[in-house]
């Protein structure tokens, strides 16, 4: 390295590398052509990190991301992890305000904690307005917007409109000469009538303690005219309606396969997809599994019907939120807007997604090709988040343990509801 010639050579090479590097980096930052948005000084660019949990629809979205990067030049790093892990990582990130994740998955039940306690989410509609970007919230049902709002402020853009639907086997119903029920009593008698073990069972239920049994049960609670809280916020579990709803679960269990006391959403979907049951209440994000030949034995034989009655049903959908500590908010906004747009949504429908946009749900061509959209469009307007409270897990744990106890016979429905009531009062009092 001491001879002048080699030194010159090195300098030339180094300069060349430096020039190339400079050219590349500058090339990256202005590759995005300015769009219609004129509010901001420069078009969004750079890199963001996107935290999700895997579902078929999410996986399909991830496949479309290269299109987004090609259009805008924004690079999206996807962290695709276990669902429970994801919620914990979100909490940790929001608490430490490190902004490790720019955009991530939130559900309605997360908002009291993420907004009320951690104050970690950017109010996305307000931010968009301040940036001169239009977010099509008018294309969303008002209940849907409410599900992701706190005190009227929207905090996340809905992506998958997961509803709880009644799934029925058209062929079995036809054979039995029955129509899908529109009232709860009819539903119960249908299930009993079609129960023909071991060939096929009437129904299955998600009985596992934790969220599964809670979500299974809450629809019946509402269907029977009851509710979790009254208008003052006092729990109303120790009521005739709640006890009847628990009774209904037990009735359903009699026409269900053994082991439902341990069924979570996975087994529920598998049970229906393998043709084990005639009727099931499923989360609509299970649709892809029902359409996939490597997964489903009932292709073409099923349809969704609205949950009987005209009362509320549980909403389990998710949306993309923006981290208030994000270091690249413009790019994050651009990404969220793209990912929740009707155009992208339409591309995801064929594989079984549940689109949040009313325009997509009611699109005649799509409805003709993908019949489940019709029932979803009806259900969408009455789907609400069951509990919006910072003590969400506490409450669900307490209630679901009692429900599971009733299901396995260690408590009667009366005892279970009384116990749940007192536990809920205790939890809320200590808040």
């Amino acid at each position: 390295m001491s001879s002048p010639t080699s030194l010159v050579r090195v300098t030339i090479v180094a300069t060349a590398i430096g020039l190339i590097a400079a050219a590349c980096s500058s090339g990256g930052s202005d590759s995005s052509s300015p769009s219609g948005a004129s509010g901001s000084a420069a078009a969004p660019s750079g890199e963001i990190t996107f935290l999700v949990s895997s579902t078929p629809t999410v996986d399909n979205l991830i496949k479309l991301i290269p299109d987004f990067t090609a259009q805008t030049g924004i690079k999206v790093n996807v962290a695709n992890i276990d669902y429970d892990a994801m919620t914990q990582k979100e909490t940790l990130d929001l608490r430490s305000k490190t902004g490790q994740y720019d955009a991530f998955w939130v559900e309605g039940t997360f908002l009291p904690r993420y907004v009320g306690q951690l104050n970690g989410l950017e109010p996305i509609a307000e931010y968009a307005t301040s940036q001169g970007v239009d977010l099509p919230t008018s294309d969303l049902a008002s209940t849907l917007v409410d599900n992701f709002s706190v005190d009227g402020t929207l905090y996340a853009m809905p992506f998958e409109n997961t509803l709880m639907m009644s799934a029925v086997r058209d062929d079995i119903y036809q054979q039995g000469g029955l129509q899908p029920a529109t009232t709860l009593p009819d539903y119960l008698s249908n299930v009993q009538a079609l129960n023909d073990p071991p060939t096929v069972y009437g129904t299955e239920i998600m009985g596992q303690q934790g969220e599964p049994v809670f979500y299974e049960w809450v629809n019946w609670l509402w269907g029977e005219g009851g509710d979790l809280f009254d208008s003052a916020g006092t729990p109303t579990l120790d009521t005739p309606e709640a006890i009847k709803a628990t009774d209904d679960l037990l009735t359903l269990a009699k026409s269900a396969p053994a082991g439902v006391a341990n069924y979570s959403w996975d087994q529920a979907a598998t049970s229906f997809a393998t043709g084990q049951v005639s009727t099931a209440v499923l989360f609509s994000d299970q649709t892809p599994g029902l359409l996939d030949p490597s997964n489903s034995k009932v292709i073409g034989k099923w349809s969704y019907v609205p949950f009987p009655g005209d009362k509320a049903t549980a909403f389990g959908g998710y949306a993309w939120a923006m981290n208030a500590s994000s270091s690249n908010k413009p790019a994050t906004l651009a990404f969220i807007k793209w990912a929740t747009s009707a155009e992208v949504s339409k591309q995801l429908v064929p594989d079984g997604s549940s689109p949040p946009q009313t325009s997509v749900q009611t699109d005649a061509t799509l409805q003709a090709k993908y019949p489940w959209l019709k029932a979803e469009a009806e259900a969408s307007s009455r789907a609400i988040v069951p509990i919006k409270n910072t003590a969400y897990f506490d409450l669900v744990d307490a209630l679901s343990t009692d429900l599971n106890a009733a299901l396995t016979g260690s408590m009667t429905p009366d005892e279970a509801m009384a116990d749940a009531q007192s536990k809920w009062e205790e939890i809320l009092a200590s808040q």
Binding site: N77, A79, I81, Y83, W265, Q286
Partner: protein
């Protein structure tokens, strides 16, 4: 004497049959896992259970290539190897110290090492997370290796002490009277004689690090995500990818089995203490 030899030989054949039977029984679920990895969900969830079927490599293809599990494998390997090296080094030194030297409170301190193994990782992970954020160590290999090495070192110390106990002091003594230092005797004699223990310890340090979930969950990020947390991603809100999980599991244990196969000659080799006599 001949009857004794004969009964010992008979015992040998009995033992061989017995061992094969026990291991065979143990492996039935493993075979089932392998088969499930080669099935579609429809095949896996059907009655009666199929032992013979048309296999598919789709699950393996999906997890390895479409979902990028190769990267997670690499991360897990890096952390596991780093952890094992640290744990074996620190652990065998400490174990030797506990075994060969007497001092007040020895047993107490030794027992104290077990604390690292008894405290649930999740409880440690939260404060560790806070500290890591301060030190800007989040999502780094170093952080994971250090955290894994805590319980691995505790484990290694405990394991190795038992093996050093079986190394006769006389051999070390004679080496030291010949001019070797304590450390030299340790390295050249004691470690070598306790080799089977070293190997067993290494195997398990690798396994523990490889399979750790809580620290990886809280402290790893995009760059250092390891296999166990990634496997969890196959348990989605929309259903569990059974075939995929089994496929990853198989891919995960194959390297460890190969490693065990290679090193276990050290385990099996009998020690000769003939040198003592």
């Amino acid at each position: 004497m001949t009857t004794l030899v004969r009964s010992r030989r008979r015992a040998g054949w009995l033992a061989t049959t017995g061992a094969f039977a026990m291991v065979g029984l143990l492996l039935v679920p493993v075979v089932w896992t392998l088969e499930t990895a080669l099935k579609t969900k429809v095949q896996a969830w059907s009655l009666p259970p199929h032992w013979i079927f048309a296999p598919t490599l789709a699950n393996f293809h999906k997890v390895l290539f479409e979902q990028g599990f190769g990267r997670y494998l690499r991360n897990s390997a890096v952390v596991a190897i780093g952890t094992t090296i640290v744990a074996l080094t620190l652990g065998s030194l400490a174990a030797y110290g506990f075994e060969r030297f007497r001092f007040r409170g020895r047993q107490g301190v030794f027992f104290g090492f077990l604390l690292a193994y008894m405290i649930p990782e999740m409880a440690i992970a939260l404060p560790a997370y806070l500290l890591a954020v301060q030190l800007h160590l989040l999502d780094s290999y170093i952080l994971l290796i250090v955290m894994h090495a805590t319980f691995a070192t505790a484990f290694a110390t405990w394991m190795m002490r038992a093996f050093f106990k079986e190394v006769p002091r006389e051999i070390e003594e004679s080496a030291m009277t010949d001019g070797a230092t304590r450390l030299g005797a340790f390295l050249r004699i004691s470690l070598r004689l306790a080799a089977p223990g070293l190997v067993a310890t290494a195997v398990f340090c690798l396994i523990f690090s490889w399979n750790d979930f809580p620290y990886a969950l809280v402290l790893a990020g995009l760059k250092t995500q390891t296999l166990p947390v990634a496997v969890g991603s196959l348990k989605t809100p929309a259903g569990t990818a059974w075939g995929g999980i089994m496929a990853v599991t198989v891919v995960a244990f194959v390297p460890t089995v190969v490693f065990a196969f290679i090193v276990q000659k050290w385990l099996v080799r009998g020690l000769t203490f003939g040198a003592v006599k």
